[in-house]
């Protein structure tokens, strides 16, 4: 690429790059003609100067074009997908997928392996013995047809430029940019072939977005990108100040997801699942309006009607469904400690980021691509914000691989809790 320096310079000086230049930049980066140090200079210029909507669309398109794209139109059904910007205790997809499938919609998701504090959806599913996420496309499509729900790892090469760019942004302080973030998320979603996506945009100290303004900006951009690609996109903002639900950690979250599918899940998790399901069902080809979608989702979730669909799903991907019938059999880490309340009072905060980091240090997440996650470790937060606790009562438990890790995590989790003497209202979970 002859003119890469001019191209960086143009963005550096605040100019708008034509789509062809952005395509050449990404193609050059993937071919090795554009060096990492040139891309990172461009990314910093883009971070500080911004990208116009046209540039953001071109970047998204170029990242989609860098790899495979899935065409699910042969299915004859409208495939809906959900994307979360990531939070602590986020097991929503495990509940949401079978719930919307049980309503008759088709929920298909290609999910990467997360580098977050705790495992990604694929890691959580792999806690179930036998569960396979490395599926061929044929399997993915057939399962969508037969079971109505499938979550696969990225066995096809969706938007590989995004993966490389994200890794570079991560080490060059260029993550926190609305257009770069929107293009990153949407390139993978669009390449994955779903026709409609609901975005669960988590906002709070345990989330990628810590303020609503930024979250709204990215949501708006993602909707615009979806529109340009004929994809319907709806954003829902949900709270991520404290972890979602009680469980943080792979097997522990599967266990909680089964509870939720049985109609016995925590209220905050159920609220998020129903809100997202209402939007997904309304975007699906069922012809339901939002009201009916919400009503059906709520009724089926609380009635435990989607649990059999989860069981079928697990079997379709090779998982041992007996663990769903008796999730208490899922292997959990042996070293357990309870954290007790130091005083009578009300839980006024649980720092989601601190809880996520504690789970990460227990081994629930991965630092580098290729690292193994420990499925059995994690936390259970027995008391959440607004709950009344008595002195000495267990407010949380840690599951660790050894006593030293258990002790450290217990200290970290205890520090993540704040108690107040006066009652504290349970915070809203759907915030926009």
């Amino acid at each position: 690429m002859e003119n890469i320096v001019e191209l960086i310079q143009h963005k550096r000086d605040g100019g708008e790059l034509p789509a062809g230049d952005i395509e050449a930049l990404i193609a050059g980066y993937m071919s090795g003609e554009v060096a990492d140090y040139q891309m990172s200079a461009w990314l910093m210029a883009a971070f500080l100067r911004g990208l116009t909507l046209a540039e953001t669309l071109a970047l998204t398109g170029a990242m989609i074009a860098s790899g495979d794209t899935l065409d699910l139109s042969g299915l004859g059904r409208r495939v809906v997908d959900k994307h979360s910007t990531g939070g602590v205790g986020d097991k929503v997809s495990l509940v949401l997928g079978p719930l919307v499938a049980s309503c008759g919609a088709v929920f298909g998701k290609m999910s990467g392996r997360s580098l977050g504090h705790t495992g990604g959806t694929v890691d959580k599913l792999e806690s179930i013995p036998g569960f396979r996420t490395g599926l061929e496309v044929d399997h993915f499509v057939a399962q969508l047809r037969e079971v109505g729900v499938c979550i696969a790892g990225q066995t096809v090469n969706l938007a590989p430029a995004d993966g490389r760019l994200y890794a570079l942004r991560d080490v060059t302080a260029t993550i926190d940019s609305n257009p770069l973030t929107a293009a990153s998320i949407m390139s993978k979603k669009i390449a994955g072939g779903a026709q409609a996506v609901v975005l669960d945009i988590k906002v709070g100290r345990g989330a990628f977005f810590t303020n609503m303004g930024q979250a709204r900006g990215v949501a708006h951009l993602m909707e615009e990108i979806g529109r340009a690609h004929g994809m319907e996109v709806v954003s829902v903002m949900t709270a991520m100040e404290q972890p979602l639900g009680h469980a943080v950690g792979n097997s522990l979250e599967v266990l909680e997801a089964v509870e939720a599918l049985a109609g016995r899940g925590p209220a905050d998790l159920a609220a998020v699942v129903v809100e997202l399901a209402a939007n997904l069902l309304a975007l699906s080809d069922l012809g339901w309006d939002r009201e009916r979608s919400r009503e059906e989702a709520g009724r089926r979730l609380s009635g435990g009607e989607a649990l059999p669909r989860f069981r079928r799903w697990v079997e379709a991907q090779g998982g041992d469904a007996s663990f769903i019938d008796d999730p208490g059999r899922l292997p959990l880490a042996p070293h357990r400690l309870k954290i007790t309340a130091p005083a009578d009072g009300y839980v006024s905060a649980i720092d989601a980021l601190a809880a996520g980091k504690a789970a990460f240090r227990l081994g629930a997440g991965r630092r580098r691509k290729g690292d193994a996650v420990n499925h059995g470790v994690g936390l259970v937060l027995h008391a959440k914000v607004g709950d009344r606790v008595g002195k000495g009562e267990a407010i949380a438990s840690v599951y660790a691989g050894n006593t030293e890790a258990a002790g450290r995590a217990a200290g970290e989790v205890a520090a993540a809790y704040e108690l107040a003497p006066e009652p504290v209202p349970a915070p809203p979970v759907i915030i926009g």
Copy 2:
């Protein structure tokens, strides 16, 4: 370096980095802990957010600390140096060095191999058969004592961080920054051990700086950096719209320098040399004021009194001085073409950048470190801005390695000339 991402982020967000952070950044870059792509992201952030004077001083200091420093205080003389920001036809050092030495001052210069359109000072000197620029420090110091003038290549490792940073800036569109430029130039000068420096800041379309405002900004910064290191720094702005003098190319410029030292050089070259010499002599330990310095320099230059000193200098560095006695013997490229005026008129412009590029394509400069330069190729501009020319009269000549290159260069040089029907004044050469 644990916190490199935070450090990039701090500059990205417009913060000021403490000196310790900048030192750690440069040391980490040299040790390999900080990757090229992280440094380039930082450079782009610094480019767009700027650096404070304190940051610029810290960067300069860190680059000096990355390599060797020369201590010339044992000489017992005040060593003066001159630095040019680079122009086309700039053979000033070849004339200036022996001129100030002939006045009794000590002129010492460590000069890098240029990546510019035409060779650097070291390349020009190496046109003289036998001339060696790879000198040991002992030789450098002894020659300063005995001859009063020495220009050596960078045989010691002066500010190697600057070399690496400059190469990175060159390919990431981060060259054109005042603080980065000032730190780059001054780190090498200060490491080189001179106690006073005159900066020849060239401004115009053939120069690094194309506008006076930017040149003044960098000059001011360089004076501040010098002050912080106990080095006296004086800046002179000189014009670089058209090439300086008539010759562009290594041997051709040596030839012109000898002519100038014999008192027969072009007026614009002599004007720059005398202006710089006046400043250098006033900064030296001779105790002359500016007026006397200017008077002595002018008289000696026009009287040819510095030519014997040039001869001694050449001999001291192993060069064959018979080429100085008869510079017409310097080998020149065999394929020569004359460019003639297409009409009667006055030369109104000669695009220095276009002339420099033409010389570069003839082989006078180098694209990459380690490339050889062709000493014999280049251009002679017989007519300069303001000169009256008659139709068919030779206005320029090219010296090329083959006929094809000669033809192409002739076309390029012809295109660099502009003629006007009405008289045009010769432009000023000292502009600030």
